[in-house]
């Protein structure tokens, strides 16, 4: 009897809950606004990566609003700081969904945070573009994650291809400096396999810690092992440390390579002559490129009163603008009837979509949200303190 009573109480509460909870499709979209969330680190040591990215995203949405918005709706961005911690990121997403009721997220931040949020993303159909690059985001197919940016594997394959192809290296002695982070480990593995495919073994594999005070032991070891091509799998500050230390010991490899998180004009500004043999890959255009997309980026930065030195890492600012650009395009394609499902469907109509040089042309279908595996290579231009692109978009060579 008691049991029966409880059952009725439970059913009633459940019914009330159902009634109170708002309908899904309404979330985040009104007659004149679209609410969009954004989870990126704003404070602490990692903020150097999060801030320019987020500023780019916000600035583009502002630009879009100044152009009259999308189908009469203005985009409102709510930026939550997760301090680069997964538990806080999860909390932030819950807040954005249940309190602010956002339609989608421009990005969920790093890989760690995105994976921790994966289930919620699928449950609430939160379309987003993670700014980390992981196989798990598109393989297997994740319905609401739109991967953007060539995977680390692809980037490092292109680097090794460049050594053997463009630089025509004969039996190069390749050394790898990696961080004990996922990009480091993935990068190391990719380089090892790719070099193997060309019939070369790696000479040195050394760890370069992210907070390294100096890189003496690493430089000396590379020098001792006569490494002439150094590939780094680490973020900017340690790579700068390495280049400076290498300059000190007058260690001059034929080239030092870096991946997208270390391919920024900053590196040339920081190291000057020490960076003259630096070559980086990135999946966004260069700040100084003469493409329509990059002109737009520079113009948006200018209207928002941002100078290069305030932006910080320009490559990330470009990435931020690019991510918002994709969302803006998807909003436009949806038309008036905007909801999580139609947004996803709009993204899936992208076919060789051209961002004017911000990103490589990209395609999403309802079976695959894989990123375009394309990168550009940049070389240091020391007199002008910047990186200049030396190739167009390229993909890793097909190996037999």
């Amino acid at each position: 009897m008691e049991f029966k009573k409880m059952k009725t109480v439970l059913t009633i509460t459940a019914l009330i809950c159902l009634l109170v909870s708002p309908a899904f499709a309404e979330r985040g979209v009104t007659e004149d606004t679209i609410k969009v969330g954004l989870i990126l680190v704003k404070t602490g040591p990692v903020a150097a990566l999060g801030l320019p990215d987020g500023h780019g995203m916000v600035d583009y949405m502002k630009y879009l609003n100044d152009q009259g918005g999308v189908h009469g709706r203005k985009v409102q961005v709510i930026w939550e700081d997760d301090e680069f911690q997964a538990p806080k990121s999860v909390a932030a997403l819950k807040k954005l969904i249940h309190r602010d009721k956002v339609l989608c997220l421009i990005t969920t931040g790093g890989s760690n945070q995105t994976i921790a949020n994966m289930k919620t993303i699928n449950k609430y159909k939160i379309s987003n573009i993670p700014n980390a690059l992981m196989q798990e985001f598109f393989d297997p197919y994740q319905p609401y994650i739109f991967a953007m940016g060539a995977t680390y594997e692809c980037q490092y394959q292109c680097i090794v291809d460049y050594i053997f192809g463009d630089m025509k290296a004969d039996k190069p002695r390749i050394g790898v400096l990696y961080a004990k982070k996922e990009y480091g480990k993935i990068g190391l593995k990719a380089i090892r396999e790719r070099a193997k495919a060309y019939g070369v073994d790696l000479v040195s594999e050394l760890v370069l810690p992210t907070g390294a005070v100096d890189a003496s032991s690493q430089v000396l070891t590379l020098q001792k092992n006569k490494v002439d091509y150094v590939i780094t799998c680490d973020v900017l500050p340690p790579v700068i440390s390495f280049l400076k230390t290498a300059e000190k010991y007058s260690y001059k490899p034929k080239a030092v390579f870096g991946f997208n998180w270390a391919t920024d004009d900053m590196i040339v500004k920081a190291c000057g002559k020490g960076a003259e043999n630096y070559i980086g890959v990135n999946f966004v255009g260069g700040w100084n490129d003469d493409s329509p997309g990059m002109k737009l980026v520079r113009q948006i930065a200018k209207t928002n009163g941002r100078e290069v030195k305030d932006i910080g890492l320009t490559s990330l600012y470009i990435h931020g603008i690019g991510a918002s650009y994709l969302f803006g395009e998807a909003f436009k394609r949806v038309g008036k009837d905007l909801n999580p499902d139609s947004l996803k469907a709009a993204f899936e109509t992208f076919k060789d979509f051209d961002t004017g040089g911000i990103f490589p042309p990209l395609t999403y279908t309802d079976k695959s949200h894989a990123p375009p595996e394309m990168v550009k290579l940049f070389k240091a231009d020391v007199p002008n303190n910047r990186l200049v692109s030396i190739t167009g978009w390229r993909t890793p060579k097909k190996m037999d």
Partner: protein
């Protein structure tokens, strides 16, 4: 008959009772009822924060047993927490065993690690001990990252959904009740532990270890025991964390987490079970409060909007910690006790 004051003990047994008055019992009952209906009225955001607080409470209880009650400082609590989390993740992934095997196993594994650290640390005191435990934390982080064919290293490892006898707890609201029950159990057993000979021995070691050993407390045995119990709590908390997050990564268990646990028990109150709870809830929830408050302020004064920076939230958090301790060095439990006596003796507060 003598006039009885509000709480009056007639025997030792009565003196060490956990719930001494009917008022206390009813307040706790009311609190439990509020907790029980909360997921029905609150949104998942709040429920998630309470889940995190529960986990932090269990871990902080463990650290308080070691640091607050036994006087052994540890800056390596995150390491035991990580061992628990990874044990749960790896065991449940590899052997598909249910939670009632996983959780105790991770607790026991962490406890073993605790003993392993505790024995060589017997001779160390104060900051030296803090540094030794901290270096253990660094080593654990290194092992987790390097031993990647088991721990999956820097890619992180996903954890299967927690299910109780075939019923999957696949949302925060469902896992909430499970956590509340376990946390209540953890609080009760910690409070009870402190009433036994073991608990009193711990306190004796903290207050004067040499005197304690003269009185017949086996220092070696009890110090190691304190390490084991504390790590057991951390291990259980770690296991629960793995279940709640469903994905763990070495970056979740850094040195800063150890500092955070220390902060919880110091702010809550060293050597106080209730203090651990307060501290854990404070450290977990206050930042969110500050955030909400800051948003409220910007709504109130739109002029602040451009000046506002998320850094202020964290600065306010740091400031709050400092002010709290400057004005109440005994922590939140000190404040709580003062409020309690104030009410109890009302209207004769002094």
């Amino acid at each position: 008959m003598a006039i009885r004051s509000k709480t009056f003990s007639e025997s030792y047994h009565e003196d060490i009772k956990l719930f001494r008055t009917i008022w206390l019992k009813s307040w706790i009952g009311l609190f439990l009822v509020v907790l029980a209906v909360l997921p029905l009225i609150g949104d998942p955001y709040i429920v998630y924060l309470i889940n995190l607080s529960c986990i932090a409470t269990i871990a902080a209880l463990g650290l308080n047993i070691l640091t607050g009650f036994t006087g052994q400082i540890s800056l390596g609590h995150a390491a035991f927490f990580a061992i628990g989390a990874y044990a749960t993740a790896i065991i449940s992934n590899r052997f598909q065993v249910p939670f009632w095997v996983c959780l105790p196993a991770s607790g026991v594994l962490a406890a073993c690690a605790g003993i392993f650290v505790g024995i060589p640390c017997l001779r160390l005191k104060g900051l030296y001990l803090a540094m030794a435990t901290m270096s253990f934390g660094v080593v654990v982080e290194y092992v987790v990252i390097t031993w990647d064919n088991v721990t999956k290293g820097v890619r992180g490892i996903s954890v299967p959904t927690l299910s109780i006898f075939g019923y999957p707890l696949d949302s925060n609201n469902k896992i909430y009740y499970f956590l509340i029950v376990l946390t209540a159990l953890a609080i009760l057993s910690a409070a009870n532990l402190m009433r036994t000979r073991v608990g009193r021995a711990f306190i004796a070691i903290r207050d004067r270890d040499i005197a304690a050993s003269v009185m017949g407390v086996n220092l070696t045995q009890y110090k190691v025991m304190a390490f084991a119990i504390s790590s057991f709590y951390a291990g259980i908390a770690g296991g629960l964390y793995a279940y709640v997050m469903e994905y763990i990564h070495p970056e979740h268990f850094t040195f800063l987490l150890s500092v955070q646990y220390l902060a919880m028990i110091i702010i809550g109150g060293l050597g106080s079970v209730l203090g651990s709870v307060f501290g854990a809830v404070f450290i977990t929830i206050i930042p969110e409060f500050i955030k909400a408050f800051a948003q409220f302020l910007t709504l109130l004064f739109p002029a602040l909007q451009d000046k506002y920076d998320d850094g202020w939230n964290i600065a306010a958090f740091g400031l709050l910690i400092m002010l709290f301790l400057i004005f109440e060095p005994k922590g939140l439990s000190g404040i709580w006790n003062r409020i309690k006596t104030c009410f109890k003796n009302w209207p004769y507060t002094y």
